[in-house]
Symmetry: C2
Subunit: 216 residues, 2 copies
DNA sequence: GAGGCTAATGTCAGCGGCTGACGCGAAGCA
DNA sequence: TGCTTCGCGTCAGCCGCTGACATTAGCCTC
């Protein structure tokens, strides 16, 4: 556990670097959420961490990059979880379980970067800031593509031949976007809250798909 | 027709202004499509029209604004057309007819701004430029909201009470986004081509919705 | 543990998008 | 004709972002 193979005990330099990165991220999100994204200057962020502006851009490719850093983590976490679902599950079921699972386990991973509550506020900010929302939507489209390929592979399908993987993912993503929006608009900025909303929407969605629409 | 109420015969100054605006738009799109959006400088655009950079920003709130000016026209044209459909038509049918109608009539309106073919190339550019695509998707979401309200009003529904308007519009928009993408990826950059693709996709979509899925 | 090597940061100069302030000259109007 | 308006040019400046070079502090080897 101390000096093993996959953990080559990062040296002081690496740790310092990581610390700077973390502090920059925290300061950025704190400033973004407290005074607005557009209103926050990269100079302000760097100054808050006592670092030059250039250093900020060495750690984050852009101001937006900082805003979406935690999302990166969450999304890759989700993709990994989906990939790990047993092959027997139907695609929608796998994604449903994966997203609920993910919300249970991703918390501590987030917490290692920034306080969970800070991320929740950041997400609300993304939903309410036009330029960030635009990027968020494009990123979601990218994620859909990745998911479609994962699902296609699970089912042994060619994503360019069979439209169903993309369709399932599109429907699922639609529901997820809806929940994200609904949650972002509300006041319950907690993980439990988003888990609940997600579960509720997915349940309704799936039962609506499965039910006989021509009966009650 | 000459000096009527809604057309107060624009004076020389107004015409000059309009001319400058048109030239700027054309030059911008021409440069965007020929050398790329990010690679084009506002200075280049202004210089091509022999005006100061400041003048560009007096006519366009941003570089992006120029890229989406024609889209603005098309979208408002489409919304107007939908609003004008007879109330008897079902929502999906109204939107289907509106979009096909719109493609027939919007051509000359576009042509009044820029050559049609230039707009077609611009659309393809939007689809293939990340930052523009992001904005495009956010704009589509805004348009969905507007459409949902139009549909809700047609049907005498409250858009915040009944989810169906938003659902229908979401499904319709999904199909439209798909056609836009497919068309943008292809080589047939003509209005006829996009009209054909649109009609084909909508037909398949509607029949898929209407058909009995449990029979061949 | 003294040397050189390297990686993280600071500094500086500069580009491109965008804005406010001010002045000018031409179009509109009395 | 003279006054007003308004479209435009100019200038200065902020902010996001980048390349180039200097500096220093961790590290690595002898």
């Amino acid at each position: 556990m101390t000096t093993e193979f996959p953990a080559p005990a990062p040296g002081l330099r690496a740790r310092k670097k990581q610390r700077t990165r973390d502090e920059l991220l925290r300061a950025a999100l704190e400033l973004f959420t407290s005074q607005g994204y557009e209103e926050t200057t990269v100079d302000e962020i760097s100054e808050a961490v006592q670092v030059s502006q250039r250093t900020f851009f060495r750690h984050f490719s852009s101001k937006e990059d900082a805003a979406f850093r935690v999302q990166d983590l969450i999304e890759s976490h989700f993709v990994t979880t989906v990939s790990g679902r047993p092959p027997g599950e139907a695609p929608l079921e796998a994604m449903r379980r994966a997203v609920l699972d993910a919300w249970n386990t991703v918390g501590e991973a987030i917490e290692a970067l920034v306080p969970l509550e800070l991320h929740m506020r950041t997400y609300q900010l993304i939903e309410s800031t036009p330029s960030l929302l635009a990027t968020h939507m494009r990123r979601s489209a990218d994620l859909e593509e990745v998911l479609a390929r994962v699902i296609a592979e699970r089912e042994g399908l060619d994503v360019d031949e069979d439209p169903r993987p993309r369709l399932v993912v599109a429907a699922f993503s639609g529901v997820m976007r809806m929940t994200g929006r609904r949650w972002g608009a509300g006041n319950e900025a907690t993980v439990e809250s988003i888990r609940e909303i997600t579960a509720a929407y997915l349940d309704r969605f799936e039962s609506a798909l499965a039910a006989d629409w021509h009966r009650g």
